[in-house]
Symmetry: C2
Subunit: 405 residues, 2 copies
């Protein structure tokens, strides 16, 4: 981690100044003992706000409504539920999304346009609005409510994902925090990635939007659990300026610390989502270097991290480099076989496209750890990228073969 930023111990989305959060049990999520399933994130002060959303053409009206409200760039609250995705339910989906936003806006005394809505859970089931109406007033907003909200958005994740880092800018301390949920799917038809990010840095709207897209492309868009894209994926960033100081714009001195902090937070959350994929026991990190262009490096890294054969090899701690070569060659990027080098956990095993002798037992031993790192050098250019995934286990299949009934 860069020395520019410092991790906030026990940090969460409420670590930046002026952010409150809370959650309650509304009755939407019945399959976990820890049953928080409805929550709010709220800034006490006006914000600039940006978001990135699923590109799935089948998507939840919750996503449509949040994207619409974010066009104004000044949202300052998120209402979120887990248990039901509010997707594939026809016109009722948008009506329910609007009512959920109205309920939260009334409770928080905000214009409805400043409230966003995120849902995750079952597809094809309508939201039980009576439960939301009855429960929203029970959400207690507190300065340390980030953890409760983080618990309320997870579904079959095995761990809560939250982090905050702070940095110095012009003698002031600013903080970026975040929470996320991954795509757990013990209970079928769930597969949503949600991340809520906050900062007290006074980030100018156009730079907020640009920086979020840039960092999401490098982090959340570089993780893959099973190649299936959700109807509800959303990443939202609110910036309320409570740290003070001049507006953070592109190219300013303040921009550097903010960008680094945002990158550290998103990288941490993205890696944790990958590591906690269904049935996963290991994090896979694939770095591709020497590509002709960054988009090619990203494409190659994602292709390798997403390969079922690579994922099963990692599950078995098997240094099966032929599968990496095949996945690399099958991707759409430029590859010259006789220039490719491969490393597993830092040990070179292929050079100029040909295997070089390596002590297999030693590689297998390093692959038994919780992190397996692949590095691929294409030796064709200067661009690089990193993708994260997880191993494919029998557990993944068992979880996802269960009946919906």
């Amino acid at each position: 981690m860069s020395s520019v930023v410092q991790v906030v111990p026990g940090g969460s989305v409420t670590s930046p100044q002026g952010f409150l959060a809370g959650a309650t049990y509304a009755g939407l999520k019945t399959y976990r003992e820890d049953k928080l399933d409805l929550g709010l994130l709220y800034s006490e002060h006006p914000c600039t706000a940006a978001g990135t959303f699923t590109t799935n053409k089948i998507r939840s009206p919750s996503v449509d409504l949040s994207e619409k409200h974010l066009k104004r760039g000044n949202a300052r609250a998120i209402v979120a539920n887990s248990g039901i995705a509010n997707a594939c339910v026809g016109e009722q989906g948008m009506k329910d999304a609007q009512e959920a936003v109205d309920l939260a806006a009334r409770y928080l005394k905000l214009p409805r346009e400043e409230v966003l809505f995120c849902s995750t859970g079952l597809i094809g089931v309508e939201l039980p609005m009576a439960l939301l109406r009855a429960s929203i007033g029970r959400v207690q907003l507190t300065r340390d409510g980030g953890n409760a909200l983080a618990r309320a958005i997870i579904t079959t994740d095995t761990r809560v994902k939250e982090v905050a880092v702070s940095y110095q800018a012009g003698g002031r301390t600013a903080t970026v925090g975040g929470i996320a949920k991954g795509s757990g799917m013990i209970h079928p038809q769930m597969a949503t990635m949600l991340a809520f990010l906050s900062t007290d840095a006074p980030v100018e709207l156009s730079f907020l939007r640009q920086s979020l897209q840039e960092v999401v492309d490098e982090t959340f868009n570089m993780i893959t659990v099973d190649g299936d894209m959700s109807t509800n994926d959303s990443v939202i960033l609110l910036a309320n300026g409570q740290a003070g100081g001049p507006l953070v714009r592109q190219g300013t001195a303040e921009a550097e610390g903010y960008l680094e902090a945002l990158r550290v937070v998103c990288t941490h959350l993205a890696r944790e989502i990958a590591r906690d994929g269904e049935g996963a026991s290991k994090l896979i990190e694939v770095t591709v270097r020497g590509a002709r262009a960054e988009e090619e490096a990203r494409c190659a890294a994602r292709a390798i991290a997403a390969s079922s054969l690579v994922k099963t090899a990692v599950h078995g701690s098997d240094p099966n480099w032929g599968r990496l070569m095949a996945a690399l060659g099958a991707s759409s990027v430029q590859v010259e076989e006789n220039k490719v080098a491969l490393y597993i956990n830092g040990v070179c095993i292929v050079e100029e496209g040909r295997p070089i002798p390596f002590y297999r037992d030693a590689i297998v031993a390093t692959m038994r750890g919780p992190d397996v790192r692949f590095q691929v050098d294409l030796n064709l250019g200067e661009s690089s990228a990193t993708a994260w995934g997880c191993d494919l286990s029998e557990g993944y299949v068992t979880f996802n073969s269960a009946y919906t009934t």
Copy 2:
């Protein structure tokens, strides 16, 4: 199956007139009891010949050499080995491919340019040419040798894949036969699809090439086992004209029967490869209708058949339609949610994008059979396509997690 063509009982790649085949054990494949691993397909008469090959940028020199020889359009023999893929071995790979072709050409008394070479097996291991030199002379070519050759090219397939159909054209009987192997991967680093096709129809070269590409696009290119593309995939078609009659060209009366026969043979072999995917217990057939263009229908059908979540749902006989909708939406095709209809084994479960009541136990019961059929109506146009895949089982993971050692 169309009434135009008739299945040849016990048919294989040697069913068309004038084709001989045989196989022997050279010592390349040590992990099966049935150890044939080196074989030949041979036409007693000159042929027109066409092929389609993997688009993986990392590919075997065996593929490069076959593609080069097919440029002349008159190959009449294939030498094939299993156990070793002859891929990722540097310059030695092309030298070995050339020697394998020379060995076969000398044995068959053919110019080397009329011999093709196909390999499947371990990546990163050089062919033990001494074993090929010692063994090629033991291959006995016979009229019913297709089955032996089919056995020699499989790796971890659980079944041999072979078929032949005949049709009438101008009072004559012509036949199309074929054998194939799928991507079994108990022994790691193997994932090759090979298909050798033969016909005694006198097919003109340009039409042979065009028809093969067309039919491969509809059949072999529409199957998916795990989304990983091999370094060695090859489909080769030889036509020796021994059935007699006028040249089969595009638009002629003879073309219709030939095309139908080729389509039936390739569809059968492609389906059998999908059904016999590693660890698979079921064939998944996905038909997409009402797409704006055929390429969109193919893309959508493949995306659904390739989805890990769809595949695990089928493994559990789970009518989990939300996963189909998500996979459909995530594909690159045009989708309007409120126009989509979904059928499972002929029963409509989604109409206009919304679930309609269905008796779940009845659907689950039909999904317990060996074939699960999904039909998706996009209701946006007139194009349709079918893709084939298999369920994703714990067995797939277990097989593919094993060490290479």
